[in-house]
C-alpha cells in the first residue's frame, strides 16, 4: 500500500490497471479508449501502463471504444473504458448492447454537460441518459472513493449474480481533475480482492450466438431477469464491502452516505460532490441549531429504495439537489425518490450546478431558507432562481 497524489481520472485509470493485471492469469484485459474532455487524462494514463496480458486499443470513436469492450468481454476478458458527455452519448447504443448482452464492462465517466452549445463542465445529465438500460451507476465524491469504487465495480460487475456493466461517475474537472492523496493497494492485494474474470456465456468453442433475435416473451423474461439481478446489487455490494475491508484494511463506502441525518427534520439529498458540499452546509445550519442532515446517494442504479426510504422516514422537509435536469420534469433524483418520503413531507426539487456551476454551501443554505416555510412542495426550482 502506498499513498499517491493523483487526480481522480488517474486514480480511475490506476484502479483499472491494477484490476487488469489481476486478471493476467485469466483471459487478460482489453480496453477500447477514445479521448474527450474532461475524461481524456484517464485514457492517457491507462495507455501509459504496462499491462501483462492486456491491450488498450486506441480506437476512432467512443462507439468503437465500447465496441472493443464488448468484443473483449464476449471473449471473456476484463474490460474498461472511460468517457464523458457527448462521448457517452455517442457510446450510448453500445452501452445498451453491453448491458443487454450482460457483459461486465466497467466505465469511468467524467460527467460533463451535453452539447452543443459546447460546455465542458460538470453535469450529471450525460450519465443519467443511461439510467434505464441495465448499467449499474455509482456517483462518487472524492478521489479515494472513486478509486475504491472503480476497483470494486469490477468485482461487482463480474459477480455471477450481477453480470452487467458498471458505470462509476465523477463530475468533470470538479473531481476528475482534482488531485488528492489516494491510498493505492499493492497488486497482491488487488489479486486477492478480484477473482479472475469468468463470463459464463462468453464465446468459446461451442457454436452459440450472443445477441441474436428474440421474440417478445423472451425479451420480457430477459428484462425481468436483468432487473432482478440489479435488485441483487445492494446485497452483493454489502458482501464486497466486507471483502474489501478484509483485504485492504479500510472500509468501502456504503451505497448511501448519511450525514447527521438521524435526528434531522430537514434532509438534503444529492449525488456526487454536491453531497459533500451539503455536509458543510449541514454543519453551518446545525451551528445555527437547525436540525438538518444530508444524504448522499452513491448508488443510483439500482436505486437503493429501501435505504433511501429508511433515511426519508420521519423527515418533514427534504431538499433534493440535482446537478441535472430532466427537461419538462425537473431534477431526476428528486423525481425518483419523492415518493419514498413520508406522506405529507415536503420534497422539493432544486437544481444546482448545471453546466458546471460551482455549488457552494451558501447556495445550499439559501435553498433551505426557501424550503423552510413551505407547507407543500413547489415546482422544481433552479438554484439561481431561488
Amino acid at each position: 500500500m502506498t499513498v499517491e497524489l493523483l487526480s481522480a481520472n488517474h486514480g480511475a485509470a490506476l484502479a483499472a490497471t491494477l484490476a487488469a493485471r489481476a486478471n493476467r492469469k485469466g483471459r487478460g484485459f482489453c480496453s477500447g479508449v477514445y479521448p474527450i474532455t474532461p475524461s481524456t487524462e484517464c485514457m492517457e494514463y491507462l495507455c501509459q501502463q504496462k499491462i501483462e496480458k492486456g491491450r488498450v486499443i486506441k480506437v476512432e470513436s467512443e462507439h468503437s471504444a465500447m465496441g472493443v469492450c464488448i468484443g473483449a468481454a464476449a471473449a471473456g476478458a476484463r474490460s474498461f473504458t472511460a468517457t464523458s458527455s457527448n462521448g457517452l452519448a455517442y457510446m450510448f447504443e453500445n452501452c445498451i448492447a453491453a448491458a443487454m448482452l450482460r457483459l461486465p464492462v466497467v466505465i469511468a465517466v467524467a460527467n460533463r454537460t451535453l452539447g452543443p452549445p459546447w460546455n465542458i463542465w460538470a453535469d450529471h445529465s450525460d450519465a443519467l441518459t443511461l439510467r434505464d438500460h441495465g448499467l449499474i451507476q455509482f456517483y462518487c465524491a472524492d478521489n479515494q472513493e472513486l478509486f475504491d469504487t472503480v476497483l470494486s465495480a469490477f468485482r461487482l460487475a463480474e459477480d455471477k449474480r450481477v453480470m452487467m456493466p458498471a458505470m462509476v461517475n465523477m463530475e468533470g474537472f470538479i473531481l476528475s481533475h482534482t488531485v488528492a492523496q489516494t491510498n493505492i493497494p499493492d497488486q497482491a492485494q488487488v489479486d486477492d480482492f478480484l477473482p479472475l474474470t469468468d463470463i459464463p456465456h462468453r464465446l468459446g468453442d461451442v457454436p452459440h450466438t450472443l445477441g441474436q433475435i428474440e421474440v417478445p416473451h423472451q425479451t420480457e423474461v430477459h428484462r425481468w431477469q436483468h432487473h432482478n439481478a440489479m435488485l441483487d446489487v445492494p446485497k452483493v455490494y454489502a458482501e464486497i464491502q466486507k471483502e474489501f475491508e478484509g483485504v485492504f484494511g479500510r472500509s468501502l463506502h456504503d451505497i448511501v452516505v448519511p450525514y447527521r441525518a438521524d435526528d434531522a427534520e430537514t434532509l438534503i439529498v444529492s449525488m456526487g460532490t454536491i453531497g459533500v458540499t451539503a455536509e458543510r452546509a449541514v454543519d453551518m445550519l446545525r451551528a445555527e441549531g437547525k436540525r438538518v442532515g444530508s444524504l448522499r446517494v452513491r448508488l443510483f442504479r439500482p436505486l437503493p429504495t429501501d435505504a433511501i426510504r429508511a433515511h426519508y422516514a420521519g423527515k418533514k422537509r427534504i431538499a433534493v439537489i440535482d446537478r441535472n435536469i430532466s427537461l419538462g420534469l425537473g431534477g431526476i433524483l428528486w423525481s425518483e425518490t419523492r415518493a419514498l418520503a413520508d406522506p405529507g413531507a415536503v420534497v422539493q426539487s432544486y437544481m444546482a450546478g448545471l453546466g458546471g456551476g460551482d455549488v457552494r454551501p451558501e447556495h445550499i443554505v439559501k435553498m433551505l431558507g426557501d424550503l423552510e416555510p413551505r407547507k407543500i412542495a413547489g415546482p422544481p426550482a433552479m438554484m439561481e432562481a431561488v
Partner: protein, 760 residues
C-alpha cells in the same frame, strides 16, 4: 390511395353495394409466405371493403422473416370506426395463400361455418373430409398468376389474383370487381383476378360438425433460457422446406448424341466411362450395342458429332475417334449369356447388319448361323472400304470378337430364293441382311467402252488382287464410294483423279473429313457436272460433261439438279461409276412381300425379318448395325420391329447447357499419315487420337457427372452426397432453384412438390 376517413361513426358514401349476407363486424386473416404479398392481400381486401363505405383496419404481423417464410396479415371491417389493435384470433374469413401452410395453427380459432379460401392446385375433392365444417373455396391462384407473369418464377405474387376469387365468394358481381381494380390502380392484374373469379370452386359448410375447442388465449409461453446460462449449442430447427412449392430433382435427359446414334450406342455412357474408368469399362458399355467399334470408330459418318452440343461452343467432341480409341485400346471380350431354350437363327449376309444381328443374338445365348456369299465375312466393310481407311486387322478384330461368341459362319454360300424358303422352315427365325442390290448404271452414250466400270467392282478388285493404273481417272458420284474410288485410284498410280458430281461440294453425301482428305491428296472435285457421253474407240479416252444448275429443292431439301445443254469434255483413261445401288431385294421368293421389316406370304406372317440396307436403305455402317440389332431384338420379342427410345423426350439443347462452366478447349484432332507418295501405299491414313483426353470435353448432356456444382452452389447446404449421387433435403430446401440453374448439363429439374412421385 387517398381516401377520406369518415369523420363520425356512420357509413361513408359507398361506391360498391354491400354484398348480401355479409355480417359485420368481420375479421379476415391471411396466411402467406414472405414475398407472396400476404400483407398486401389483406390491404387489398381492406381496400375492397372501403369501396363499400365500411370502416376497415389492416396490418401485417411483422417479423424478421424473409422471402418464403410464413407470415400473417389481418383485416377488420365494421360499420363503425375500429379501435381494436390486437391480432385476429377468431377470423370469420381465412385466406391461405399457400397450401403448404395448412396445419392446426392456421385453422386455430376458425369457427364452423367460416369462410376458408385456399390457394391450391389440388382439386376440392382431394380435401374430402378435412374442411367440411367450413365454407371451403379452392383456387389455383399460383398457376394463374404465373401464367400472367406476376412476380418471379420462384416467388409468384398471387394477392391480386386471389382477391378475384375472394370477391366471388363474397358474392360481388364481376362488374364490381372490375370497378374496384380500376379504382385501386390494379388494372394490370385484373385479367388474373377475373380468371380466379371464374375458376374458384366452393363447397358449403356441413354445419353439424363441431369445431375443436379453441386453445385459450394467454397460454403460458415456453420457458426462456437465461442470457447468462446461454453457452450451449442450440441448432436451428426452422423447417424451411415448407417455404416452397417446388423442389429440385435429379433427372436424366437424353443426350443429343445418344439420340442421334443410328446404332443406338450410349455415347455419353461410353465417353464418361472412358473419362472416369478407362477403355475397358468404356468398351463394356460400347459393346452392348456396338459389335464393330473398330470399324465404326473409323468409317462412321458420326451423326452424333453433328448433334453434339459442344459444336455450338468450341467444336463437337471427336466421338468417332474416341470410339476407335476404345476399340484399339481395350481387350474386352464379351461372354455370352446362357439361354435355357436357345433359338436357332439364320442370318443371311455377313455385312454390318448381319454381324450386328448375329452378335446381339449370340450375346443372349442363341445359336446363330451366318450365310455369306463371299469367301469372308464383312460385306461392304471387306469389299468396299479401302484398307487405307479401314485396315484389315481392325475389321478382323471385330469379326473375331463376334465369332468368339459361338456364331457359325458359312462363307461362300450364296442363298438363293429357294434356300431362303427352306431356311425359313429349318430355323426358328431368319434375318435377311443382304444389303443393297446391284450398282446403278449411268444412262450415257459410250457406257460400254473399256475403262468405264463400276467403282465397287474396282474397289473389290483392288482389295483382292491389287491393280495398277495409269493416266487420268474420272470418278462419277458424290458418296463415300466415289471418294474411296478416287483415293484408291491415286494409290493405284493414276496421274490425276477428278470427281464429277452433279450437285455442290457441300451437297456431297460423303463424310466431310473424307472429302477434305481426298482434296489434300490431290483429288480434284468438279461439282455441278453430269456426264452425258463417254468418248473413245474401244477404250475410253474422255468424257463429255454437261453443266448442271441447282433447281428448286426436292423432298430431301436438296436442290434438284437441272442438266443444261452447256457441255465440255474431260480427257481420261478410266471412268469409275459410284452412283449408288438399287434397293430391291433380289432373293425374295415368289409371292413374298416385305412390310415393316417382316416377310409376308399373302396374309401369312413368316419368321423372316429384314435388316440393314435391304430393309432401310440408310446406306451407312452404323445404320446397318442399329437395324441388325433391332431386328435381333424383334426376333426375340416376336414382334415386327423393335424401336430404340420409343417416345423419348427431346434431346438436351445447347441452350440448356451452361457453357460458362466449361473452358474453351479445342477438339483433339486425329493424327494423319504424312502426305508421302501415295502410289502403292495403302497404309491407314488416319492415325486416330494420341490419347483419350478428348473424352474430357464431353459435356455429358443430361447425365449427372457428380461434378459437385449443385452441392457447392446450394445456398442452404441442403444437398448431400450419397453413394450414387446426391440427395436434396426437402425438409429444408427453400426451392430457390440455384442448383438447377447452375447444373452445367441439365441433369436436374425443378418439380412441383405435389407432382406425382415427388417425395419431400
Amino acid at each position: 390511395m387517398e381516401r377520406k376517413i369518415p369523420a363520425d361513426s356512420s357509413i361513408a358514401a359507398a361506391s360498391i353495394p354491400l354484398p348480401a349476407g355479409l355480417t359485420l363486424p368481420l375479421e379476415v386473416r391471411v396466411h402467406g409466405r414472405g414475398g407472396q404479398g400476404g400483407v398486401t392481400c389483406a390491404k387489398l381486401i381492406a381496400a375492397l371493403f372501403t369501396e363499400m363505405g365500411l370502416f376497415v383496419q389492416t396490418f401485417g404481423d411483422y417479423g424478421s422473416e424473409r422471402s418464403g417464410a410464413p407470415v400473417q396479415a389481418y383485416t377488420r371491417v365494421d360499420r363503425v370506426a375500429i379501435k381494436n389493435r390486437n391480432k385476429v384470433y377468431r377470423p370469420d374469413h381465412l385466406i391461405v395463400l399457400d397450401e403448404g401452410l395448412m396445419g392446426a395453427q392456421v385453422l386455430e380459432g376458425v369457427a364452423p361455418g367460416s369462410l376458408l379460401l385456399l390457394n391450391t392446385n389440388a382439386s376440392p375433392g382431394s380435401f374430402a373430409g378435412r374442411f367440411e365444417r367450413y365454407r371451403f373455396g379452392t383456387i389455383d391462384a399460383t398457376a394463374i398468376a404465373r401464367e400472367q407473369g406476376i412476380g418471379s418464377t420462384a416467388v409468384v405474387i398471387i394477392n391480386t389474383t386471389i382477391l378475384g376469387a375472394y370477391a366471388r365468394l363474397l358474392g360481388l358481381p364481376l362488374s364490381v370487381l372490375e370497378k374496384a381494380y380500376t379504382s385501386l390502380g390494379l388494372g394490370g392484374d385484373l385479367a388474373a383476378a377475373k380468371h380466379a373469379y371464374e375458376q374458384v370452386r366452393v363447397s358449403e359448410a356441413v354445419r353439424e360438425i363441431e369445431a375443436p375447442a379453441v386453445s385459450a388465449a394467454g397460454a403460458p409461453p415456453p420457458a426462456v433460457a437465461a442470457m447468462l446460462g446461454h453457452s450451449r449449442d442450440f441448432p436451428a430447427t426452422l423447417k424451411t422446406g415448407s417455404w416452397s412449392n417446388q423442389v429440385p430433382v435429379y433427372s436424366e435427359h437424353p443426350a443429343p448424341c445418344n439420340l442421334a446414334c443410328p446404332a443406338g450406342n450410349d455415347v455419353v455412357g461410353f465417353i464418361q466411362a472412358l473419362k472416369n474408368n478407362g477403355a475397358e469399362e468404356a468398351a463394356a458399355i460400347l459393346l452392348r450395342t456396338q459389335p464393330l467399334p473398330s470399324v465404326c470408330g473409323r468409317v462412321c459418318p458420326a451423326p452424333c458429332m453433328q448433334a453434339c452440343n459442344r459444336g455450338a461452343f468450341d467444336g463437337a467432341v471427336n466421338i468417332r475417334s474416341l470410339e476407335r480409341w476404345i476399340a484399339d485400346h481395350s481387350t474386352l471380350k464379351p461372354t455370352p449369356q446362357i439361354d435355357e431354350h436357345p433359338l436357332h437363327v439364320a442370318v443371311i449376309g455377313g455385312g454390318p447388319a448381319g454381324l450386328s444381328a448375329a452378335y446381339q443374338l449370340a450375346l443372349r445365348g442363341h445359336s446363330v448361323t451366318i450365310y455369306e456369299a463371299s469367301p469372308a465375312l464383312g460385306g461392304v466393310l471387306r469389299n468396299g472400304i479401302p484398307a487405307f481407311r479401314l485396315p484389315q486387322e481392325a475389321l478382323s478384330r471385330d469379326i473375331d470378337r463376334i465369332l468368339k461368341l459361338g456364331v457359325e459362319a458359312r462363307c461362300g454360300s450364296r442363298v438363293s430364293k429357294a434356300d431362303l424358303d427352306r431356311l425359313a422352315h429349318d430355323f426358328d427365325a431368319v434375318i435377311a441382311c443382304v444389303g443393297f442390290g446391284s450398282a446403278l448404271d449411268l444412262e450415257a452414250k459410250g457406257g460400254g467402252l473399256d475403262g468405264v466400270e463400276q467403282g465397287l467392282a474396282f474397289l473389290d478388285r483392288v482389295k483382292r488382287s491389287g491393280e495398277k493404273l495409269k493416266g487420268n481417272v474420272v470418278v462419277v458420284g458424290g458418296g463415300n464410294t466415289a471418294i474411296d474410288c478416287a483415293r484408291t485410284a491415286l494409290r493405284c498410280g493414276a496421274a490425276s483423279v477428278k470427281i464429277v458430281y452433279r450437285r455442290s461440294r457441300a451437297d456431297m453425301p460423303a463424310i466431310a473429313e473424307e472429302i477434305e482428305d481426298a482434296g489434300h491428296e490431290g483429288v480434284e472435285i468438279v461439282p455441278y457436272r453430269q456426264p452425258v457421253e463417254f468418248l473413245g474407240s474401244g477404250a475410253v479416252s474422255g468424257v463429255v460433261v454437261a453443266e448442271v444448275e441447282a433447281g428448286p429443292p426436292d423432298a430431301s431439301g436438296r436442290r434438284r439438279p437441272v442438266v443444261t445443254s452447256r457441255t465440255s469434255s474431260l480427257a481420261c483413261d478410266k471412268v469409275l461409276l459410284a452412283l449408288g445401288q438399287k434397293s430391291e431385294i433380289e432373293l425374295m421368293p415368289d409371292g413374298w412381300k416385305m412390310k415393316d421389316g417382316r416377310a409376308w406370304l399373302g396374309e401369312r406372317l413368316l419368321p423372316v425379318w429384314f435388316a440393314g440396307d435391304c430393309s432401310t436403305g440408310d446406306g451407312t455402317v452404323t445404320h446397318a448395325i442399329g437395324s441388325g440389332r433391332l431386328a435381333a431384338l424383334a426376333v426375340l420379342n416376336g414382334c415386327d420391329a423393335a424401336q430404340d427410345g420409343a417416345g423419348a423426350a427431346d434431346p438436351v439443347a445447347p441452350g440448356q447447357i451452361r457453357f460458362s462452366h466449361f473452358d474453351v478447349t479445342p477438339s483433339h484432332k486425329d493424327g494423319q499419315l504424312p502426305p508421302a507418295a501415295l502410289a502403292g501405299n495403302f497404309q491407314e491414313v488416319n492415325l486416330g487420337l494420341k490419347g483419350p483426353e478428348e473424352a474430357q470435353r464431353c459435356f455429358s448432356c443430361g447425365h449427372c457427372t457428380h461434378c459437385d456444382t449443385c452441392l457447392i452452389s446450394c445456398p442452404d447446404g441442403v444437398i448431400v452426397r450419397i453413394a450414387d449421387g446426391y440427395r436434396v433435403d426437402g425438409e429444408y430446401c427453400k426451392g430457390c432453384g440455384m442448383c438447377v440453374a447452375e447444373c452445367p448439363r441439365n441433369a436436374m429439374t425443378m418439380q412441383d412438390k405435389n407432382h406425382k412421385g415427388v417425395r419431400v
